[in-house]
Structures are given as C-alpha cells and as structure tokens.
C-alpha cells in the first residue's frame, strides 16, 4: 500500500505540475470519444481523455479492460472504430506507426531474436540519421541505465525474463521519443531493480521532458511514479486523477475497491446542514456521521467508504470521537510494520482497521475475541453514490 509520505510527495508535486487544471494548457494527446470494436466486442467504449506534455500517466485496470488496446491505437497498430486521437491538436489517424514520434515497449517485449542486445537497442537509432559514434554512445548510455553492460553481446534467448524486459525498455527509450508507451515495463523485475528503474524513468522524464503512458498492475508503482492515474474497467475510464485524489477521493465503489484496501458500507443517508450527513446502515447501530460535497437527496441509497488506516482501534471507549462502533476482534493479520484487525461490529458485518505496530509482538494489547472500539472522524471516509 502507498505509504503516507509518498502521498504527501504527490500532493506536493501536484501543486507544481498540474497542467490539467490550467484552462489554457493544450494536451499533447487527446482521445475524443474513441471506440474500438473487435467484431461485436467493444474493447474501448467511448473513451475521452487528455494527456499533457511531461505527464507520467498510468493506466490501471483488471486484465482485459483494454489498456493494451488503448496503447496500440496510439502506436498506430489499431485504428479506432469511431472517434479521434489527436497529437498536438492534429488527428494522427493517417500516420503509419513508423511515422509517429512515439515508441512502445511491448508487453511481450518483442525483442528481435536474431540480434544481440546491443543491436536490438541500436535498431531504432540506425533507422534515424544519427551518426555512428553518437549511436554507440547512446547505446552505451542505455546499457548502463538498465545494467546490462556485461550482456551486451548476448542474444535475447540467452537472457532471463527480467533481463529481456530491461532490453525492451532500453530499446524503447533509445530514440528518446516524445511519447513513450510502456506496457507493464517493470513487472518481471525484483523490487530493488524496479525501484531503481522507476527512479531512472522519472529522471529521464526530468531531463528529456518525455511524456510517459504506462500500464501497470502494481498499484504502488502507479502511486509512486504517476502524475495522474486512469482507472479503467470494461473499456471505459472510471476515474482520472492524481494518485492522492484517487486514493483519498475515489468517485465510485469500483475505484475505491480497485485501489488499496477499503471498507464499504451500504446505507441510506439523512442530509443535514453544512454538507453533514448521517448514514443509516444497520438496524440498531448508531448512524455514521460523514461529510460530502455532492448534493444528496434525503433517504437516497449511498455507500460509505473508509480506508482501514483511517480507523482507530482501542480497548476502551474513546472520548469525544465523531463515530464510535463497538465490536469484537475476529482476526488479526500481522504485516510487520502494521496489523490489520478484522472487527465484527454486527452479525456478519466486518470492518477492517489498521494500526501501526509500535510495540513488539509480545506486548501488544489487542487479541482475538476481545471487545474493541473503532472510531474515526466525520471527514475520514467518502460518501459514494455509485
């Protein structure tokens, strides 16, 4: 799960870099009502989105939701069934893939098996009119970046999965394209190398101003590197926002559930003054006090979503908390730095709460079957309507 300091970092970033909030900013890439059908099957369903220069745009979503298809349309390998894709304000549909100033890193790597690592990386450079000395220098640079200097003469078949992935990454970066499409670029790397490569990517972006679109299944990765995250589902965009916004203010149960761990309670709301809201969610349990910015109708159906780490857990009733629920500990998942407590607050209703393990294992004071009190403030969770 994203640590709180990376959230803060991203919030800090979004103050300095947020072209999507500027009315005058012109997007580098613009999808306008793009539809892609394969026969009867709609892989991309009326997608509109804007990606700005120097963004690090992450596509997140379950397998088969259309992430690769979206990228392939940008690279020019698929034509949209309807809608337009604009690059710098120009419709790019007449441009063949080799004329587009983008490079793609393929999910299957697509390394040329008959060429060595060096030749693979130099392949694109040789097709531009770059002088030979410069090509060699650039290839060396790339090899150093992905730490493959020693394997330069090998063929792809003689590399491990992670090494192949790094060659593919180096090859797609070598031409320094304006837009780089990375389809799960770091999936096969171990954690340390993945983090180093993430920093390299951010570094490259800083230096060269490359715009990245990256597909990832790793939420932590999306949270650390992205300027914005787009969550997709069944060919549609569910939400586009900064990592912190996605995490703290998901716009739907789908997004809330997809990113990180969350408790979702279903109920009916009773509106009050000043955006205050009371959610009645179970017979005989005190309603939840929450706040919302969206206008809600009285007694309409709604969902209350709250992250486990926003809930405090204590062995005695807390004084003056805005929301308190008593329950019984069913299960404790020990995660090292944190523990997640599964607390049954009503028959069949379990709420997860997370707390930092400040004490050593032997001295923790909450155990199974114990009666505990969960509490949170009225702004800790979000109220969702869908």
């Amino acid at each position: 799960m994203p640590t709180t300091d990376s959230d803060e970092m991203n919030i800090a970033n979004s103050h300095t870099f947020a072209p999507w909030d500027e009315a005058s900013a012109v997007p580098l890439i613009s999808f306008k009502n793009v539809v892609k059908k394969f026969g009867d099957f709609t892989a991309i369903d009326n997608v509109s989105l804007d990606i700005y220069e120097k963004e690090f745009y992450s596509l997140l979503g379950p397998s088969g939701c259309g992430k690769t298809t979206l990228m392939r349309m940008l690279a020019g390998f698929e034509k949209p069934t309807a809608g337009q894709i604009l690059f710098d304000g120009q419709d790019i549909s007449p441009l063949p893939p080799n004329k587009r100033p983008f490079n793609m890193m393929f999910q299957s790597y697509a390394l040329f098996p008959h060429l060595s690592v060096v030749e693979n990386i130099a392949f694109g450079l040789k097709r531009s009119n770059m002088p030979k000395a410069e090509i060699n220098q650039r290839v060396d640079e790339m090899l150093t970046m992905v730490q493959l200097q020693q394997l330069a003469a090998r063929k792809p078949a003689q590399l491990s999965g992670g090494q192949r992935q790094r060659v593919a990454l180096a090859r797609s970066l070598a031409k320094r394209p304006k837009l780089l499409l990375l389809d799960e670029p770091l999936g096969a790397l171990d954690k340390k190398l993945r983090q180093e490569t993430q920093f390299e990517l951010m570094d490259i972006q800083e230096k060269l101003g490359t715009t990245f679109i990256i597909v990832t299944h790793d939420q932590e990765e999306a949270m650390t590197v992205s300027s914005r995250v787009a969550v997709m589902n069944h060919g549609r965009i569910q939400q586009v926002a900064t990592p912190a916004e996605i995490y703290e203010f998901p716009n739907s149960r789908y997004v809330a559930d997809f990113i990180g761990d969350i408790n979702i309670l279903e109920g009916h709301c009773q509106t009050g003054a000043d955006n205050q809201l009371q959610i009645h969610w179970a017979e005989g349990i005190t309603p939840i006090n929450a706040t919302t910015n969206t206008a809600m109708r009285d007694d309409s159906e709604c969902y209350f979503a709250i992250r486990p780490e926003k809930i405090s857990i204590s062995t005695s009733p807390p004084a003056d908390a805005e929301n308190v629920i008593q329950g019984k500990v069913l299960d404790i998942a020990y995660l090292g730095n944190l523990s997640t407590y599964h607390v049954e607050v009503a028959p069949g209703c379990v709420i997860k709460a997370q707390a930092a393990n400040q004490k050593r294992l032997s001295r923790r004071d909450i155990s199974w079957e114990q009666t505990v009190w969960l509490s949170w403030t009225s702004t800790a969770g979000v109220v969702l309507t869908q």
């Binding site: 690279a75 020019g76 390998f77 063949p96 893939p97 080799n98 983008f102 490079n103 793609m104 393929f106 299957s108 697509a110 390394l111 040329f112 098996p113 008959h114 392949f123 694109g124 097709r127 531009s128 020693q150 394997l151 003469a153 090998r154 063929k155 003689q158 090859r171 031409k175």
Partner: protein, 275 residues
Amino acid sequence: MNQRFSWFNATSLALGFAFLYIPILSLVIYSFNSSKLVTVWAGFSTKWYGALLNNEAFLDAAFMTLKIAFVSSTLATILGTMAAFVLVKGIAFPGRTLFSAMIYAPIVMPEVITGLSLLLLFIAIGADRGMTTIILAHATFSMCFVSVVVSSRLVSMDNSLEEAALDLGCTPLDAFRSVILPLIAPAVISGWLLAFTLSLDDLVIASFVSGPSSTTLPMKIFSQVRLGVSPEINALSTIMIAIVTVGVVVASLVSKRSVINQRKQEQLAAKSTIE
C-alpha cells in the same frame, strides 16, 4: 532412456539401412563393372565414367537440368515466400482462408494432371515449348511446397516483432528485410532446397511441357533405360548420388557451425558476467 545395446534394436537398424541402401549400393558397385552387361561382374573399371565424359547428350541434359532446377527453384522461392507472407501476415481480405487452402492443391494433385493442364495452357497461349516452359512448370508446382514450408515458420512468429520494427521507424519493406526475412531465412533456404530437388527429380511434368530441344536428365535416363540399362547410366547415377551427398553434408555442416557459433557466444557471454 535405455541406452544399452540390444539385439532387437541392432537388427531393426541393420534391416532398415539394408532396405534403403542395398539398391543404391548395387547401382554404385555396377558402375565400376568392366563388363557391358549390368548383371555380370567382370572386374573393376572406371571406363564408364570416361565414356560418360564423352557422351555429349548426357552432359547437355545434365547441364540443362541444373539450369532448370536453379532458375525454377529460385523463382518458386520468391513467389512462394511472397504468397506465404500475404496469406499469413497480410491484412485479412475476403476469401483468404479459401486462398490459403487452395495453395495446397498442387501438392495433392497427380503430377500427370498438373503436367497435362500446363501443357494445354502452353498450347493455348502459343508458347514455344522448351527450357522456359519447363522452368515455368517447375516453378508452378514447387512454389506451393516453398509456401507451405515458409508459412509454417511465419505462423509461429510473434506478430509484435514486425510491429516493434515499424514502431522503431522501419518502413514495412525495411521491417520485412531486416526482421522478418532473417527470421524465416532457414525456412526459405530449406524451401529453396526442396524446390531444387523436386525440379531435379521431376520426370512426368517435364515430359509434358518439354520441347524437342530440351531434354532433362531424368527424361534422358528414362528413355535410355527403355532401350536397356547401360553401365554408363549407373555411372551417371553414382555421380548424382555423390553430388547430392556432398550437398547434404555441406548443408548440415553449415547449420551445425551456426549452432556451435551460438554456443561459443553463450559461453563468452557467461564468462563476461562472471568477471
């Protein structure tokens, strides 16, 4: 696997090889027979080989056959590779499946029918029958073999390789030349070899479409044998066997060398990682 010697295995091996090679062996032995009678051994001699060198008709036929085989197999390889590429990798067009199936037809077609239909075609368009018509006929029927060999390789090739080449700035032609062709080269070469041997072999189709001035070696041998088997023909066949054997050995050595080279590279690479 059981690696031990067993009488059963040894016997089957011996029987199999005997079945395959005794006819060839007898042909080779009798080519060194000094008697003119093929069935009577009268001592060792190489005189039939000498006689062969003076037999212009045979030499002409042999040269003609090689020329035809070379040109027709090259033509068949180019056409067959192009057909395979379009049928496997080209954009879908209506009836593509039908076309893919139809390209196999000449393989199962009886040669007599292929020959006859080609003959009728050449007559209809008024083509002079001769070397050119044999080349065209051979290219026609061996092209489908090339196309089958090449398309089986293309089918197993990842589509994204070509896309990656395009993505990195290749024109479609450049992508074909620098990525696809090197990858399918072994299939293209074996397709060429196949077409070459098919053309060398062919008697039936060549008989249909040849003219008076163009006799291939198989045609020559066949017509000679009808007048009686001569030791000269044995000698000629022995030479052909030698040529084919040398060809096969060279081809296998070349492919083995490339494997060895790759091993060497692997070892080098492994060594440099350790250092």
